[in-house]
Amino acid sequence: MTSPTPYMPILVSSFSSLKKQIKVVPFRFEGVFKTKGKDNMLCTKNLVPGEALYGEELMRVQNEGDITEVEYRVWNPFRSKLSAAIMYGVTNIWIKPGSRVLYLGNVCGLTVSNLSDLVGSDGMVYVVGYIDDVVGMAGTRPNVVTIIEKFWNHGNYRMLVSTVDVIFAEYDRHLDETLFMVNNVRFYLRAGGHYMISTRANNLNSTGQVKDVFTIHFQRKEFKQIETIMLNLMEGACSLVVGSYRLLDD
């Protein structure tokens, strides 16, 4: 799979209203970009150019040697936990253009929209939750399937979801919900896939480490915790747990 050429674009002020020079460079992971300049903002390439869904900034930059403009959307790390994790230095997010992602839990439309930008038109994002605004947003995005259902009824939406590469879950209630998460993993996550769970950091055990809820509840070799990132966001301390499922020993 050929990787896209890294853009080194220079802003042409006559094409856009922004007068300051902004460079947008790829940042660590495929599909994720960062602005260089006055602010360092994380952004993704906009799948639906011209639409700013949550009032975020859209940046138009011009490709070198090409008249076409590329539009990027800013990814706010204070509102999206995945963005915060990237900025805090997670080793790998395992999501790249073309992957399939299952998004569960407290659905945040902001994260979903950026995920959909990330995976591009080849990938798919399946969103499961009780969310009204996401249904409206997903209307313009052909790679987001919205399922209005509680994620612990994992069987109910089995007709709508294919095997996914990554499961991303965001919930801040009790650990009991992990029992339901496991079923989702076993149904839909492919062998060798990864899961990322973001919970409140009060799930710490006595040594101060975040319990990976899977490895504790299910002492099987299927779930292997890779890393934990502490995210000190505005709403309170959260943590992101990254793990793998049935990693093949290659």
Partner: protein, 501 residues
């Protein structure tokens, strides 16, 4: 004992036969290993039958049934088509994802079902490789099917109602503004253009729409004579003005236009008239739509201001979510942030200013009225957004409250307490519901006249609604039909309630 697998997905139902389970053994570990490789898995599991869904509606029915663990007729037909009839000791079993569905299948068709870990592992493999198994599925077809089906499933869950889409109102109000500008600029153009021929007309006829009509009627001013006067009087409405026009035409300084030019001017004048008429129709459409999606807001501050608020906020839900202080200054953001930065006085009203109440308040009380009105608008918008019923009872009551507040500032008349007014409003809403449920019963009373037992039926009717009545009704009985009929009734009842207050 052979094992079959039922796999249901967005494109249809598929049935697989597992031959090779004896080879890999009946445990999940082995199944897991075989899944990874398609060729190996292909030997284990083979496609027996595939039944695609016939239409989107069919797919929606299937997924609704599947999510509840029920088997539909289509699934039953599919299974009975592919399985031999089941005797007392069936020689095969069917693996399903969910035990609930399995038990229902067993109840109806006597096909034994299982859904243990082993089956789940095999189904995982099927899910991973499904697009290779089915030949007709091109890459991307499955995703599109999932998209469409997911969308309709979600809509069905949310009970999406097409009539209550607020987007129509937002577009309509934008179009109304654009139309106003356009009609205005076109009218100016007509006036200028025709003035080359008949300059005096501009000063006599001031109204744009009327000017276009007159210009079209007058055509060539040299042909304007006394016999055209009656028609002109009909158009203008004023006999003096019509006579003035005729006089001016005779003594006009304007140059003559060739017939072709005149035709062009006439065509353009016709265009302007059509646009003006369309604007009227659009306004009526806006009023109708507002009464569908936000009747209480429209009853409180009027359709146009209400529509502007909704379009400024982005949608009705956005408007409902924002606090009333935001609603008060929606539209005055520039002044607000400027004042916040320079630590000056923040604006007191935004779009709300255009409602009639602010104009009627004295200068001292404009700010207070604006705040009070914004509070009530917030309430109205929230009711509109989240109440399933379509009623203006709350909006009317809120409007009364605002009027009372105005009186209070003017004359010192104490307004009613909010809780009392709201109780009456809720009562009105329930009464409206009762009226609706009574009206369908009335035809039956006419029928029963033949049986000569009218009194019996009329007595029975009121008891029905009272059992169904509940305080916060979220009934799906759309009372939009009943609304027109009950409006007269409800106002009469309100008058009654006012007397009792």
């Amino acid at each position: 004992m052979s094992l079959y697998l039922l796999y249901e997905f967005a494109s249809g139902y598929a049935l697989f036969n597992c031959h090779g389970i004896d080879e890999i053994g009946q445990n999940s570990e082995a199944a897991r290993n075989s899944v990874a490789d398609l060729t190996r898995f292909g030997k284990v599991v083979q496609l027996v039958a595939f039944n695609p869904f016939e239409s989107a509606l069919d797919a929606l029915n299937q997924i609704s049934a599947v999510s509840e663990g029920q088997m539909t007729e289509e699934l039953q037909n599919f299974l009975s088509l592919n399985f031999p009839s089941v005797g007392k000791k069936p020689k095969f079993s069917l693996g399903v994802s969910e035990p609930k569905l399995g038990s229902h299948i067993f109840e109806v068709t006597k096909i034994p079902c299982q859904s243990n870990e082993f089956v789940l592992e095999l189904l995982r493999g099927v899910r991973l490789h499904i697009d290779r198994f089915i030949e007709n599925l091109k890459p991307g077809d499955l995703e599109k099917a999932q998209l469409g089906l997911g969308h309709s499933y979600s809509r069905a869950k949310v009970k999406f109602n097409v009539n209550r889409v607020d987007n129509m109102v937002i577009q309509a109000i934008f179009l109304l503004d654009t139309l106003d500008k356009d009609v205005n600029s076109f009218s100016m153009r007509v006036r200028e253009w025709y003035s080359w021929h008949f300059p005096e007309l501009v000063k006599i006829v001031n109204d744009n729409y009327l000017y276009a009509k007159v210009a079209k009627y007058v055509d060539n001013k040299s042909e304007l004579s006394e016999d055209k006067l009656p028609g002109l009087i009909d158009l203008v409405g004023d006999e003096d003005k019509a006579k003035e026009i005729v006089e001016a035409a005779k003594a006009s300084m304007g140059q003559d236009l060739s017939p072709v030019d005149l035709i062009n001017v006439k065509l353009f004048a016709q265009r302007v008239m059509d646009l003006a008429e369309y604007r009227k129709k659009l306004y009526d459409y806006l009023v109708a739509k507002m009464s569908d999606i936000a009747p209480n807001l429209a009853a409180l501050i009027g359709e146009v201001v209400g529509a502007r608020l909704i379009s400024h906020a982005g949608s009705l839900t956005n408007l409902a979510k924002c606090p009333s202080s935001t609603l008060q200054i929606l539209g005055a953001e520039k002044a607000l942030f400027r004042a916040l930065k320079t630590r000056g006085n923040t604006p007191k009203y935004g779009l709300i200013f255009h409602s009639s109440f602010i104009g009627r308040a004295s200068a001292r009380n404009k700010g207070r009225m604006a705040r009070y009105l914004a509070n009530k608008c917030s309430i109205a918008s929230r009711i509109d957004c989240f109440l399933d019923k379509n009623t203006t009872a709350f909006g009317d009551k809120l409007r009364e409250q605002v009027e009372e507040r105005l009186d209070f500032y003017d004359k010192g008349v104490a307004p009613r307490k909010n809780i009392d007014v709201m109780k009456v409003a809720i009562g009105n809403v329930d009464k409206e519901e009762m009226d609706v449920e009574e009206t369908p019963v009335q035809p039956s009373t006419k029928k029963s006249k033949k049986k000569k037992s009218t009194e019996m039926d009329v007595d029975e009717a009121p008891t029905e609604p009272s059992t169904k009545k509940s305080k916060k009704t979220k009934s799906k009985d759309s009372i939009s039909n009943g609304d027109v009929a009950t409006n007269g009734d409800s106002t009469a009842k309100k008058k009654k309630s006012r007397k009792s207050d």
